[in-house]
Amino acid sequence: MIRFNEVGYQYDQSAKATVRDLSLDLQSGSFYYLCGPSGAGKTTLFKMLYMDLLPTRGDLTLFGKNTKDLTRENIAQMRRRMGVVFQDFRLLKHLSVKENVALPLIFENKSQKAIDASVEEILDWVGLGDKLLSMPDELSGGEKQRVAIARAVINRPEILIADEPTGNVDDTMAARIIHLFSELNKHGTTVLLATHDKGLIENFPNECLFLEDGMLMKGQM
């Protein structure tokens, strides 16, 4: 599903590569943690996964296609097959919870009826069925993150990428979020979750990809 073949990324010709010689196969339907200290290259790796950056070395293959060969329209299509959750939620403050969550389906030209049904279903699933019309600023950190998760998974993505999704919430909410991810994973979604939280990894064990100084040290923590 996702194949890194000697992938490297260097922001500047003169600078040291942020990601180096990364070779990795991520299997469909698996759950991976991506761990490592700050500056290890986790964000760069994620940016390459959602095609915000293209590898400066090697090849990254997503859904059988080399990301270097994709047109902008291809990238948009591929992103519709992925869900992305950010640590800072990235909700649109001027849209209600319902409108935020509906956006990915609007980009897929889904009918209003289908959008309404899916939004209500997904918000019920994350436990925010009563917050449809709330604005993001009226929500707590945990609620915001669950809205972001609902938005990321509403179009039933094949891959879910989450960058420190529990970074801004308490332990109880973190556990609840991981439960949601595990549930999605059971339904076949490949999950790649970046985290610093050792407790989380111990309580919810899954394969851990450890990144240090831009290089992969599989299974270490």
Binding site: Y50, D52, R72, E73, A76, Q77, R79, R80, V84, R90, L92, H94, L95, E99, A102, L103, P104, L105, I106, F107, E108, N109, K110, Q112, I115, R151, N155
Partner: protein, 281 residues
């Protein structure tokens, strides 16, 4: 517009940007200038056509002061028989003096020429007319205002060319304005656009969102320009009743159509500008 698209418009709303709001005002003003310029060109054309028709329908024959009246009568009768001559009148002393007064200066007692004013229409064979006059009065001067017509025509064309140049400048300003507005609008919404793109919004979708908003703004500017220019023309007609003579239906149509050109230009430029901004990111 579907509810989904309404949400997308709300998400990437360029109305929040001050520059974008300014576009409506600028489009109204540019549209007004464009409409008034077009109306002026048409009005000038109408004025020139009427004046030209008036001038072309008159020929003046200048005879020496001591010309024999019987010969003048003979000339009048000869000309009246010619096809294309509507009427032949000899000007009286007073009329002749009034006509020539600007050229006489202080001299008041100079013998005045005899002037025969001939009203003609398009059927007149001008060569034959001239020949008949010269047969009777070889020294007669025949004046048909052609020279004046030529110089006035040149002036009118110059004014029209100048207005056309201004119109082209307005179009160029509009294109630049649309590009800058779209750029400023999208850059102000950089964060929102980024999130939308992460969620799979393609360039075509974003271009459509921005373009429809620009088109809506351009439509408001168009409506404003039509209202403003109609009011301006109405005021001109009220203030200068003489000008109303040269305002016909085509001029009112021009007021409606000319700003439409700006609307169309904005509608064409907006998607292109959007794509170029997105691609340059």
């Amino acid at each position: 517009m579907g509810a989904g698209l309404k949400i997308a418009h709300k998400a990437l709303s360029l109305k929040k940007d001050g520059v974008f709001r300014l576009m409506v005002i600028m489009l109204t003003l540019l549209g007004w200038m464009f409409a008034m310029g077009s109306s002026f060109v048409l009005g000038l054309d109408n004025l020139y056509d009427k004046w030209q028709l008036e001038q072309k329908s008159r020929v003046s024959i200048y005879l020496l002061p001591d010309t024999d009246f019987r010969k003048i009568e003979h000339l009048e009768k000869t000309l009246e028989r010619q096809i294309g001559v509507v009427s032949v009148d000899m000007l009286g002393q007073k009329e002749t003096f009034e006509l020539l007064e600007p050229y006489l200066g202080e001299v008041k007692s100079v013998p005045l020429p005899k002037i025969i004013d001939v009203e003609i229409d398009h059927r007149l064979a001008r060569d034959l007319f001239d020949r008949q006059v010269k047969e009777i009065f070889p020294n007669a001067e025949i004046d048909d205002a052609q020279e004046l017509l030529d110089s006035v025509s040149l002036g009118v064309r110059f004014a029209q060319t100048a207005i056309l140049a201004v119109a082209i400048a307005i179009l160029i300003i509009l294109v630049i304005l649309t590009i800058l507005t779209v750029r400023a609008g999208i850059r102000a919404q950089h964060y929102v656009l980024g999130i939308m793109q992460y969620m799979g919004a393609g360039d075509a979708f974003v271009a459509r969102l921005v373009s429809t908003q620009v088109i809506a703004m351009a439509a408001m500017g168009y409506a404003g320009a039509v209202v403003l220019s109609s009011l301006s023309l109405f005021t001109i007609m009220q203030s200068f009743p003489m000008a109303a003579e040269y305002v016909d239906a085509s001029l009112w149509v021009a007021l409606g159509v000319a700003p439409l050109v700006l609307f169309v230009v904005a509608a064409i430029v907006a998607p292109w500008a959007t794509k170029s901004v997105i691609l340059s990111k």
